[in-house]
Symmetry: C2
Subunit: 371 residues, 2 copies
């Protein structure tokens, strides 16, 4: 149903981003990168959760020097997150990373950026131009009349009529300016992100750049908060863009265990039928109509199916209103009534069970469908 | 930034839905409605969480007879959820409810619907036409050539060229048919919902009907699952529509405590700047760059601000990359470095504090800003 924006494909190690490839799930470690063992351990856990590319902060040379050891210990592509100091990017490339993220807000000298781009080009390593509303470069004082700077990222923060740009327009301007710089160096292994905490600002920025550049887009809502609020915020922002066909890789930013980010990312993608992964629960909110403990049953089913890899849709429904309809659409379903439930498998009724057997009957059908 | 679809305003008791009013948050009880005391108790809890209209299932006459007692005990408007039996709608109206929800999938006889509509009209009580993908009415076998039935909801499930309708098209057809019936009875206190578990199906249905009818729309993704997955699913579906300007009232359906539904609903609305409510946390995900325990700090701040009514934005940021930028934008912010943090209030630096004082310094500033 969703027509995706065409984008250029790039290769982050073994993972293709863009060009119609499945939307890739990225996360970021929160260990001290200098502690290679702890960082690799967290990445291996993230691989288990389904993380497909991993980014690590490289705040200093010690962190850059830990990258080869981390890279050896993990399977998914490794991306170095660089701010302020271009030499950390060069060291990360030497350390064998599969991707770089540069922030045009704080690495601004075109000569230094060029040095990084040349080294990345030699190794075929893509660069993400990672613009963030919280760290935009200062706008230059525009000459009169304002003219355009075709290199670097210090553009003027004003529109063609001299009007001040909105935050989202300024983000797009900074990204396009950096894209032009990289292209002038004959480099096109580019990915772009335009993150903001404010969801409409981020959506506007991505919508605007989507049709101005062919490169794959990395979506994120930055500093979205702790898991409960942050996953909802991210779902609204990332989900709206994905529904519009925009986005090639996503990262949900949560103040919490990075595995939570991966879980939320897949829930967003699954909700739009863009990825399949493990069980999907269709369960009613329960109401004054339900005659069994739907919340308890749904939680028990969810718990028992946790970690299952194969996609499967399981419906746990509390009454006859939508119960039979939804249970019929799922791979396995139960429509509960007073003390009894009707079990469905792939749209067919396969039997009626007593309340005490609800859980075991559902699990038995899941087993059957999976084999 | 969001241009809302113009819609007719209706009045659910004291609450205006549509016509440019603030988007209203609805939830539904999961107590046994016949137990008026337990149901009223849950509604009072939901009022505390910010719920603005409440729906209760009315599965039988005993439930309908409990409505006056429930109504007396609560402050927010009460809506009766009716399926199958139109007499329950009549009894609910007599019981003093402020709104009705009828399911055109299972109350199909135009004569019975007319009886309900007349009684609702007498009392000025709005009716929600609540279509659900899981309980669509059976499509009639179309005559040849297919013709349109202007009354009732049993339409033909085929398009103008005889092609079968998609689920979302069928949902819209059923809703429009019911709208025509209500309008033919000179009734226009109408609200419409077109819920589905499948997010693209629901979005397509709402997008389609948005420009075919002037009535306010109640948004929901049905049977979305347990809170973690269900709130993300609802955020994608409801958030995408709200971003498009569609939606006048929302209900997040979760298999869990209904207060979770209300919390998630406000997070969706806050993320699009459509409502303000209590604290909004801008907190970074923490990474190898952070030199303090950002997760612990953000959780502690969030916990201490829980239940606060006044809107306030608080940024908890782990480093100098986006820290100062985001902290400056918030009402109160901290940008942490090694052992120290810079405190911002309304964009101004107000001081530097030691790590052990981070939490107390933030809370002191919040106090200051609130007064």
């Amino acid at each position: 149903m969703i027509l995706r924006r065409p984008s250029k494909a790039i290769q982050i190690g073994s993972v293709t981003v863009g060009g119609g490839a499945l939307i890739v799930v990225q996360s970021m470690t929160n260990t001290d990168t200098r502690d290679a063992a702890a960082t690799a351990r967290q990445i291996l856990e993230l691989e288990e959760c389904g993380c497909e590319t991993i980014r690590v902060a490289v705040p200093d040379m010690d962190a850059a020097q830990a990258l080869p050891a981390i890279k050896r210990a993990i399977r998914i592509p490794l991306i170095a997150d660089i701010h302020f100091d271009y030499r950390l990017a060069l060291a990360s490339l030497q350390g064998g990373v599969d991707g770089l993220r540069l922030n045009p807000g704080n690495i601004r000298d075109p000569k230094r950026i060029s040095a990084v781009v040349r080294a990345a080009k030699e190794r075929g390593v893509p660069i993400r131009i990672g613009v963030n509303a919280g760290s935009l470069p200062p706008a230059l004082i525009p000459p009169s009349p304002p003219s355009r700077d075709d290199h670097g990222v210090s553009t003027y923060g004003v529109g063609t009529s001299g009007e001040p740009l909105s935050t989202s327009e300024r983000m797009v301007e900074v990204a396009l300016s950096q894209i032009r710089l990289l292209e002038s160096l004959d480099f096109d292994l580019i990915k772009v992100s335009l993150k903001a905490f404010d969801v409409p600002t981020a959506i506007e920025a991505y919508k605007s750049i989507a049709w101005k550049t062919p490169y794959p887009l990395h979506l994120g809502i930055t500093e979205a908060g702790t898991p409960r609020a942050g996953s909802v915020r991210s779902a609204v922002g990332i989900g709206t863009l994905l529904y519009m066909g925009i986005g090639d890789t996503i990262r949900v930013s949560l103040t919490g265990d990075p595995c939570e980010e991966v879980v939320a990312a897949y829930e967003i993608l699954k909700s739009l039928n863009l990825r399949e992964k493990g069980p999907t629960m269709i369960s009613c909110p329960s109401c004054g109509r339900a005659e069994v403990d739907i919340i308890g049953l749904a939680q028990a089913v969810e718990k028992r199916l946790e970690g299952m890899e194969k996609p499967i849709k399981v419906a746990v429904m509390g009454c006859v209103v939508n119960g039979p309809g939804e249970a019929r659409e799922a791979d396995v379903g139960i429509a509960c009534g007073k003390g009894k439930g009707i079990i469905f498998r792939k749209g067919q009724i396969v039997g009626t069970v007593e309340e005490r057997d609800f859980l075991s009957a559902i699990l038995a059908e899941v087993e059957r469908v999976q084999n």
